[in-house]
Amino acid sequence: MSEPDDWTLTERIPPAERLEAEALIVDVDGYEGPLDLLLALSRSQKVDLRRVSILQLVEQYLVFVARAQSLRIELAADYLVMAAWLAYLKSRLLLPPLPGEDGPSAQDLAEHLAFQLERLAAMREAAAKLMARDQKGRDFFARGAPETQTRRRSVILDASLIDLLRAYARIRTKDEFRPYAFDRKNIFTMEQALERMRGLIGYLGDWSDLTSFLPEGWDRSPARRRSATASNFAAILEMAKRGQIAIRQSDVFAPIQIRSREGNA
């Protein structure tokens, strides 16, 4: 809302319309998806849900979406998917059916939408009735002091289904990381590189190219060369951090060279 564009845009809208639009802005967060929005819009027709005019409802929804977009409100994708579908439904409702056209009639689609709205409204009402019932711990109560005796105590080991499912999920999550360990053939790990470089470092006299340190047999296939190069690189960074070697590179993309610092430092 702080962008200048938004300010100028809002200024141009007449106050009454702007207030209405702002009500929409506030409301869009309150809707639980496009069907919920449709249900709210259908209430404005002030008729029984079974008599709601689908065409009018589609119109209201499309106006809502257009207005939200003109006010630069980010609408979730499913609102736009619904808008596209409703636009299609509208065209089907307005135009006579093409001869030889397949699929459900526009009337069937409109009826289904009406059914969905009615069902959602019915579930809303059922949910409200359910929550209005007397509830345990609020309206009625269980025994406050369940009686226990210390005469004979035995231990029951217990677990709930959710414990079981979580345990399995935990194990399977571990499994998902396993592929790392499988394809060892073409992976030269950093630990291996570090181990190997540490052994070689004593023999390093002068500056040497990093590429000359590729282990034997790792310079042929591109995959193996990539892995060994990357690990070698990571290894020398680690060794430089520990003060064991010095690194230099004369230019961007120039060969990286290393030299032992042992004794020099």
Binding site: E32, P34, A77, S105, L109, A126, D134, K136, F140, F141
Partner: protein, 211 residues
């Protein structure tokens, strides 16, 4: 005395009045509902807790505590009209989101119901955590798989859901009959192919869109 007669005497069930006291004491001592099977197991051999319950229930009618039925189990609960006296015992319960309440209602009225069906009814994806929260509250649980392609798992409500809302069974849900006869509990497929179900996962689980 024949062996049989002897055994009959040894295992004579206690008189009904005594059985009633026993059921009363067991229900009383427990915060949870106690099943008939559990009552039978705990009472002396030959007892008939079901019969004892009939008279006991009548005895508690109109009293400050009542015997209520929860699925296959029974429990003693304070009379709902006296709730205001008990406020001090209330522990703060987590406030459920609107999505959670609606999801709960849909599971209760449409059970067994798949996740895709819940989403179809609400017209919006069921967020992660909503189902988790309801399972954690022990109000819904996994039911049997639907015998349709993908064999999707279903959700049903639990006994502690019934207990919490004071329902004898899921058949006693308010307005259930009306909803059913109005056809509002049917899973009616969208005519023709659907362009609305954007979620490919839901697609696979749902039989609602398949002919």
């Amino acid at each position: 005395m024949s062996d049989e007669a002897l055994r009959d005497t040894l295992f004579d069930a206690p008189p009904m009045g005594e059985q009633e006291r026993m059921v009363e004491a067991i229900l009383f001592a427990s915060a949870e509902a106690v099943s008939l099977a559990e009552l039978t197991r705990r009472m002396p051999q030959g007892s008939d807790p079901a019969e004892a319950l009939v008279t006991l229930r009548r005895r508690y009618e109109g009293r400050g505590v009542n015997i209520v039925r929860v699925g296959d189990a029974y429990a003693l609960r304070t009379a709902p009209d006296l709730g205001h006296l008990m406020v001090r015992e209330t522990t703060e319960t987590r406030k459920l989101s609107r999505a959670a309440i609606e999801t709960l209602a849909i599971v209760a009225y449409h059970q067994p119901v798949t996740r895709a069906e819940i989403e179809e009814i609400r017209g919006v994806a069921v967020s992660r955590g909503t189902v988790d929260q309801l399972i954690e509250l022990d109000w819904i649980r996994f039911g049997r798989r639907r015998m349709t392609p993908g064999r999707p798992v279903t959700f049903v409500v639990t006994e502690s859901f019934l207990d919490h809302f004071g329902l004898e069974s899921a058949r006693d849900l308010p307005g259930l009959k009306e909803l059913r006869s109005a056809g509002l509990l049917d899973s009616r497929p969208l005519p023709g192919a659907s362009e609305l179900d954007e979620d490919p996962e839901a697609m696979g689980q749902s039989e609602m869109f398949e002919e």
